[in-house]
């Protein structure tokens, strides 16, 4: 994979991509253990509203764990995580609040196979947001149009291609009107053409000013869209920088090694 691959061919509209001073996520001194295994070590990260952050690093470095901590799919043991000014603790109220603010897309889509695409998209708005069904369906259709698959609304997930499924998953998260989106390797289970479909959708999201944290190895995407790249290794943040600097002038040895491996040749 090279840097030039999967760079969107069209011009990216940056007019909406503004980073405000408002803090969306603030992680301070966060540590996490699986049993005795120290997965995340002293993570400090501040994300401002409107930032697009790409997280990369070797396998097992704790990238997934980090972003899963942000909506409490994993529990951290030390330090604090504040999302939109709400602290993540075992208080169920806070968890509910944060989870409906934060959307997440998984590597394996995790669509609900027993529901149609439309039902997948309206389930949470109806039961969590308490939106009337009609309205929820209208919103869902709007987002399905946005990810360019409105015609699939009444099919079941099993009948869609991988790229379509991932776009449905994105639409499903968007239906909750999240202010922050988390992506965990959304394209790594997909074929090259499908990758492009999904990346285009993500770029559009970025253009609208969504705050995004994205675990991905799509370096083209990182260069084009991200305003910050974070490199993780052994459960810690090793380097963070703006994409151009990060790719052309990495500071740490580990980063250099990782980049030379991932970019190959």
């Amino acid at each position: 994979m090279s840097v030039t691959e999967n760079i969107p061919t069209r011009q990216i509209d940056r007019s909406q991509m503004k980073v405000s001073d408002e803090i969306a996520i603030e992680i301070t001194g966060m540590n996490k253990w699986f049993g005795t295994f120290h997965v995340l070590r002293d993570i400090n990260l501040t994300v401002q509203r409107g930032e697009r952050i790409v997280v990369c690093g070797p396998s097992g470095s704790g990238k997934s764990t980090l972003i899963r901590c942000i909506n409490r799919l994993e529990e951290h043991q030390k330090g604090t995580i504040m999302v939109d000014g709400t602290e993540l603790s075992s208080d169920l109220k806070n968890i509910d609040k944060i989870r409906s603010e934060v959307g997440m897309c998984f590597q394996h889509f995790n669509l609900f196979p027993h529901l149609t695409i439309l039902e997948n998209c309206t389930l949470a708005p109806i039961w969590v947001r308490k939106t009337p069904k009609k309205e929820a369906e209208e919103t869902a259709m709007k987002f399905l149009e946005k990810v360019k698959i409105p015609e699939q609304a009444n099919k079941y997930p099993g009948q869609l291609s991988g790229g379509q499924q991932q776009r449905v998953a994105i639409a499903r998260s968007l239906c909750m009107k999240p202010r922050i989106m988390l992506f965990d390797e959304p394209t790594s289970a997909l074929d090259p053409e499908m990758i492009k479909e999904v990346l285009d959708t993500m770029i559009e999201l970025a253009e609208e000013g969504m705050t995004m944290i994205c675990v991905t190895h799509e370096m083209g995407f990182a260069q084009a869209v991200a305003n910050r790249v974070i490199f993780m290794d052994q459960g810690q943040i090793v380097e963070q920088n703006e994409p151009k600097e990060f790719f052309n002038n990495p500071k740490s040895e580990r980063t250099k090694l990782f980049l030379s491996q991932i970019l190959g040749h």
Binding site: R99, M104, F106, I126, K130
Partner: protein, 304 residues
């Protein structure tokens, strides 16, 4: 029936976060699965005939104590059977029953109404408590308004045995208990496997959308698990119906006497008797598998 309830509760408990509960359920499941059903039936039967007091133990002695006492003054477990209050049907009983049925229907109507309200306006009405209230309150009210049309005839000690009430014979209770516990153990495993078969990603996705664990279970996990659960469940019900033939275990002497007599005579009756019994079970299992197939198909259609 009890088996299903036991099984579902067991299956959920077996996956509980609680270590002791998990282990306890494992012991229950392994214990019942690995020991012959017949042994359980005779053991429970023996427990009921040998381990329970005789009716005369309930007699209150002169010093005011009794060797055994009734539960709530209404139930008596004795070695001659379990005595429970028997309903006495008054003139307005039919009326009351009708109301009871209606209010249960009402509870379901309320549930679908609450769902409709949620879908239409986005107001989430509480579902469980009002439904329960609707199901119960009118019946109780009418019970008193109609002047207690259904009375209870309590079993009472008279002579050497209980009078009044209904006697449920011990063999029946033993069979019922053993079958329920035994089948429950199998259903527990089926339910557990069904829930486990739904991948962890599903519940995570649901959590990530902000759904609470209970709702995740109801809306996401169970509908999917059900598809996996139904086929093995069918065969468990088939087994249950077939195992009910073990009734002869507890009524064993009679059966051997009659059948033995028949064998001696070598009349044609044994043949017919067996044929009848066989046909009965064959018909029963065909009906059960037919019904379960219909149910299964209705669940499958939603899938794709």
């Amino acid at each position: 029936m009890l088996a299903t309830i036991l099984g579902v509760i067991g299956g959920v408990l077996r996956l509980s976060k609680n270590w002791i509960v998990r282990k306890l359920m494992a012991v229950y499941v392994e214990g019942f699965r690995n020991v012959p059903l017949l042994l359980w039936i005779v053991a429970i039967y023996a427990l009921m005939t040998e381990g329970t007091p005789q009716p005369r133990d309930f007699r209150v002695a002169e010093d005011g104590t009794a060797a055994a006492s009734m539960i709530f003054d209404a139930f008596a477990i004795t070695n001659r059977g379990v005595y429970i209050p028997a309903p006495v049907w008054g003139p307005n009983a039919v009326f009351l029953l009708a109301i009871f049925v209606l209010s249960i229907v009402g509870a379901f109507v309320y549930r679908s109404y609450a769902k409709k309200v949620l879908f239409d306006t986005g107001r989430l009405l509480p579902m469980v408590w009002p439904a329960l209230l609707i199901a119960i309150v009118p019946t109780i009210l009418m019970y008193f308004i109609l002047g207690r049309p259904i009375g209870l005839d309590y079993p009472e000690l008279g002579g050497f045995n209980f009078q009044g009430g209904t006697q449920i014979s011990n063999p029946l209770t033993a069979l019922w208990l053993a079958l329920s516990l035994y089948t429950g153990a199998f259903i527990t495993e089926i339910v557990r496997a069904g829930i486990l078969s739904v991948s962890k990603g599903q519940s995570e996705a649901s959590f990530a959308l902000g759904m609470r664990p209970n709702r995740t279970m109801n809306l996401v996990i169970l509908p999917q698990a059900l598809r996996v659960i139904i086929p093995p469940m069918t065969s468990q019900y088939l087994n249950l119906s077939k195992n009910s033939s073990l009734a002869i275990a507890v009524g064993y002497p009679d059966v051997r006497a009659t059948l033995g007599g028949i064998t001696l005579n070598q009349t044609g009756r044994a043949l017919e008797c067996m044929l009848l019994l066989g046909l009965f079970y064959l018909g029963l299992s065909l009906i059960i598998s037919f019904l379960m197939n219909i149910y299964n198909n209705s669940k499958k259609l939603q899938e794709r």
